[in-house]
Symmetry: C2
Subunit: 223 residues, 2 copies
């Protein structure tokens, strides 16, 4: 139960602390590469400790996830502040989503987190709401400034960007910054009169079969 006498309540024994750190590092790595649903035993193995040690430190998968991504929310909020501080709201929006896409494209754990795990991880819903509020504010300002069409709402943007996020790791395997093209394209649209230069060149059709082969290969964690 609670540390009874020999130990100060808040302190871990040295080996316990070391293992805890090893576990968090391993979890970060495994989540990043394989998504949030990697077998817990594998994380323990990667960390070089027994699985029971993992269960001892983190009774549930959610607890581990929450710990690993503890500071991600603050980062998102900071990016939101920064975006809202830009005088041109459209630019702020581009930068804001650029930040997010950069993370999501490179990390399957974050990807799972933003696209599916939100309702199951404590505190994540609040972060999601804050995100929506940021986007809503940026949209409103962009509409006032005349850079965004007036017949769209926050959900439109979120709904189109969410699924795209989900697909980004597949794109990243082809080229790590391919997400820039799709983000710009989605924001710009395809209409002839809306042409803006795209940041990076397109990929060829030879990737067609393979792309759809492993776009959704990893089973979504029900976490």
């Amino acid at each position: 139960m609670a540390p009874s006498s020999a130990n100060p309540p808040g302190r871990l024994r040295r080996d316990a602390q070391r293992n805890r750190d090893l576990l968090l590092a391993a979890a970060r790595d495994m989540f990043s590469r394989h998504g949030l649903d990697v077998p817990l035993d594998q994380i323990a193995k990667e960390a070089g400790v027994g699985n029971a040690t993992l269960y001892r430190h983190f009774p549930t998968r959610e607890a581990l996830i929450a710990e690993v991504f503890a500071d991600a929310g603050a980062g998102l909020a900071a990016a939101g502040e920064e975006a809202l501080a830009a005088e041109d709201a459209w630019t702020g929006l581009e930068r804001y989503f650029g930040r997010i896409f950069e993370l999501v494209a490179a990390d399957r754990g974050i990807n799972d987190l933003v696209t599916q795990a939100i309702p199951t991880i404590p505190g994540m819903i609040e972060i999601s709401r804050g995100h929506a509020a940021t986007v809503g504010a940026l949209i409103a300002r962009a509409q006032e400034q005349g850079t965004m069409r007036r017949d769209v709402v926050t959900m439109d943007l979120l709904f189109l960007l969410g699924p795209l996020c989900r697909a980004l790791p597949a794109a990243s395997e082809l080229r790590p910054d391919l997400w820039r093209r799709y983000l710009a394209l989605l924001l710009d649209g395809f209409r002839a009169q809306a042409t803006h230069p795209l940041p990076v060149p397109p990929i060829g059709e030879e990737h067609l079969d393979r792309m759809f082969a492993d776009l959704w290969e990893a089973e979504p964690p029900e976490v």
Copy 2:
């Protein structure tokens, strides 16, 4: 093994034919509602036959899927022809994807099929290639006609629409024709100067939490 004497080789006994039809109908229904990875036993149960009967008629899941969606490829090709026949390529493209989205939004089986199962079902890769060719031709003509920006390629469109397809069933649960809005929005873009009227009204933010909750809930079949 092969029918030896009593039966003409190509003919099934009456009960066998009936059960086969029942199975196909049940499979169509279950695939449509639950995706391609429903337990085969459940399909048999739904059909009101024993599971062994299912395995007897369709030795593998893929065989069953192929049979159920046998004519879908022809339908897609026909839609492609029709789209290419339109004098305005942009309109043809809109109609073509409209047809596809309509199907995909209403049927999780077709959804799975186009977003993940392509490499595992015989004949599906060819259909996918035909689809890409159709889209490529439409894009080329639209670019010639000056209605589409010239710096995009087929894969750009496919890559943006694919993930969106995946998310459509979630949208359909809110409103069956919501896909129209997103398709139009994706094609139009968000820039102020590209504003075209959107066909249906947006959804409210109150769906935010729930949307991401079940957007990816169903585990992707590895089929």
